[in-house]
Amino acid sequence: MPETRASRGPRFRSRGGAVLYLGILLSLALTFAANAASFTASLDRDTITLGESTTLTLTFEGGDPGGAPNLPPIPNLQVGGVGQSSQISVVNGQVSSTVSYAYAITAAQPGEITIPALAAKVGNETLKSNPLKLKVQKPGTPPAAPGQPANPGGAFLKLLVPKPQVYLGEILPIEIQLYVQMGKLAEMPHFKEEGFTLGKMLQPTQSQTIFNNLRYNLITFKTYVMAAKAGKLDIGPAVMSLNVPAPNARRTFFGEIADWQTISLQSEPASVQALPLPKENVPANFKGAVGSFSLNLNVSPTNVAVGDPITIKVQISGRGAVDAVTLPDQPSWEHFKLYPPTSDFQPGDELGISGTKTFAITAVPDSMDVQELPSFSFSYFDPDQKSYRTLTQPAVALTVRPSAASLPVAAGGSTDNPQAPTRDIVHIKPRIGTLAQIQSPLLMRSWFVGLQAVPVIAWLSLLIGRKQREKLANNPRLRRQRQVEQLIRSGLRELRQAASTNQHEAFFTKLFQLLREQLGERLDLPASAITECVVEEKLGPDRLPANTVNLLRELFQACNQARYAHQETKDELVALADKAETALSELKLMKTE
């Protein structure tokens, strides 16, 4: 038969392409080879009621047994049908394949069934799974809420309490199981909390089961309770509302239920006996921890100078109310200065009933005589063992050396480097110093704020003054008016003085000057151009009242007469001064030209 291209395998145009192809094949082969095959077994529920079924899943990773493994005969276990599923995933270049075989199993009698480690051949090797335990409880009739028919809407509620006795402070996980054929949750289940505290309720998980030959959706709610008082405590009944299809419910165009009704479901109550903790053999440092714990201790550094801190990390892990665990007192640590500890809790499960709590304690050895951190002990009550237990971590050797750290930092010592803190605080001050009061800041005191107005006012005053000067400089008439006003004011004073001292010449000279200045300013004429004739020509009745004009005439005539003969007495001069003041006041009110 002639050789065909197909029989010879793929051909490549270049050597490089061949190398690339071989490389891909090799990496895939190595990837598969690197992932050693594994075989695990799991149950979707480890507690069922007689008559219910659960699913045993055998999972093979990295290999395939080539078919569903035959289960060995297991007492009290009946195997139903088997289903297969497979999955291949590539993550970060790593290829993994998973093949699963699911067996529906039921029990013939109540009790505990042990599914041993199963063996299966994958390739050339025989793999073994992990063993499993399945608890089968006695059957009970599905509970009915008062006034409700049994299995209303094909649903009922069960409250599962794993054990009938607990100790005070012991965490008891419980489950509430909702069996429903078709429905929608209206609320989470709840019950009265009398005599115990209720933990948080997780989001429910869902699976399918067969009960009394009927297929149900099984919704499981997990939470926990902790007894708060001794004696018989009733848990439940658990109550919840559920929306189920109404009888003869209509359906929408898409086949969905259109009519729903709300029903109330109620489980049977459960009771537990809460036992008080034993009063005998209580360790001295027991502080109420109940559960199962382990202890770990770490100290660093172990070589320190006097006054230097060490950090002690105490880690308490286990199952119980771990988050509520507190550190016991350690009287043997008297040679250490202890600072308040900080704590951090890492839960080990969603309910938080297991986990690890880590305490960090800062301790300072107070002298060089300290050679070790004494042993640390933690006591708790183990409800499974029904006894108190004390965990002890041995003493940790320390080296405490002398140093200048125990001396106080000198005053004025380096405070500029915040990266290297002093090893102890500076000693107290020996003198009381200056007495003072903490006062409000300057900015909050009204007098200070008011004081800041001074420069502003000064500046504004100067600004206004400058503006005034500029206004005057740009307005000669206004300037003249101001000057004449000033002149009239001082001139009238001089006039009266001259009148009172009977100084005729000075009086009339000043009078004449004042009249000319005021008239000149009002009429916008030079003062030297003002004569009696101006009064006649310019001061008509429309500008000044006739009395004022007459008064001005009289004053001008008096001035003229005084040039030639002084006849007035002192009183007459005073009277003339009054008239002059009146006339000048009237003139001032006259409108300018």
Binding site: P309, T434, P441
Partner: protein, 275 residues
């Protein structure tokens, strides 16, 4: 005769009353100044007594003695400082930090005080050194009053230049550079003053005084814990509701915690220690 007596008698009474008032004033003043050294000696004695208790290791009694001095109205930086030391020795980091901060208001540049406050803050952070952010160190370089005086001084200079220009306008051009300099001298310290006011005076601080306090998402005991803070942690108070305070920590985490777990630090209040 009677009239003369009554006239002169009245004056004698008035004259006598004036004399009596002056005498009374003299007596009171003398007594005051005589009592002053006695009062000061009494204060010093009480202070020394408190120090003695501290040296004997009786830190709780020492802290109470310092408290009594403060309650009597006598305060000084040394009293707050020593009280801070006593509280620190008692392991009360939060209260010691509060006391140091009060002392800081009276003597902000005392190197001993700065060292102890830094040490206490470092202890409160579990040993990791406390280091204020760069902008905080810049603002803390001067006290609030110093920033105020700097700003106000520059403002006075600025307005003085303005006034000078109004008085002698011909100087306007030659003073232009000085205007710029003084303007900058107003703006930069002014902004720093505003920031220092906002960060210091108008910010209420809550200092945790319990070993560990839970900061919750809401002001209810049932609210979930957001994070935990330890003794000595300094938080900014944002809001209050009943007994709860909404706080913000240095990492910008926000939550609510009970008022009785913290000491509210107001810059002008006296803080009392309790052991």
């Amino acid at each position: 005769m009677l009239e003369v007596w009554s006239f002169s008698g009245a004056w004698c009474l008035v004259f006598g009353a004036c004399r009596k008032i002056r005498l009374l004033r003299l007596v009171v003043t003398t007594l005051f100044f005589a009592a002053l050294p006695l009062w000061a000696a009494d204060l010093t004695s009480s202070f020394d007594q408190a120090n003695k208790l501290y040296e004997e290791g009786k830190y709780a009694a020492a802290a109470q003695a310092y408290d009594k001095l403060i309650e009597s109205g006598t305060v000084s930086e040394a009293i707050y400082f020593n009280r801070g030391n006593a509280l620190f020795k008692l392991g009360q980091l939060g209260r010691s930090i509060a006391s140091y901060r009060l002392a800081e208001q009276l003597a902000p540049r005392d190197p001993d005080l700065r060292a102890n406050l830094q040490f206490a803050r470092t202890q409160a952070r579990g040993g990791s050194p406390y280091r204020a952010e760069l902008w905080q160190r810049y603002l803390e370089a001067l006290t609030l009053n110093e920033w105020t005086i700097l700003t106000v001084g520059a403002l006075w200079v600025f307005f003085a230049l303005l006034a000078l220009v109004q008085w002698r306008p011909e100087l306007g051009r030659s003073l232009r550079v000085w205007f710029l300099v003084s303007g900058l001298a107003v703006v930069v310290p002014g902004i720093s003053l505003a920031c220092a006011l906002g960060n210091g005076y108008f910010t209420t601080t809550a200092i945790v005084v319990t070993g560990e306090a839970e900061v919750r998402n809401g002001p209810l005991d049932e609210s979930q814990t957001a994070f935990k803070v330890r003794d000595g942690t300094e938080l900014n108070v944002i809001d209050r509701k009943d007994d709860w305070l909404q706080v913000l920590d240095a990492g910008q985490r926000m939550g609510w915690l009970r008022q009785n777990q913290v000491l509210i630090f107001a810059p002008t209040a006296h803080q009392k220690s309790s052991t």
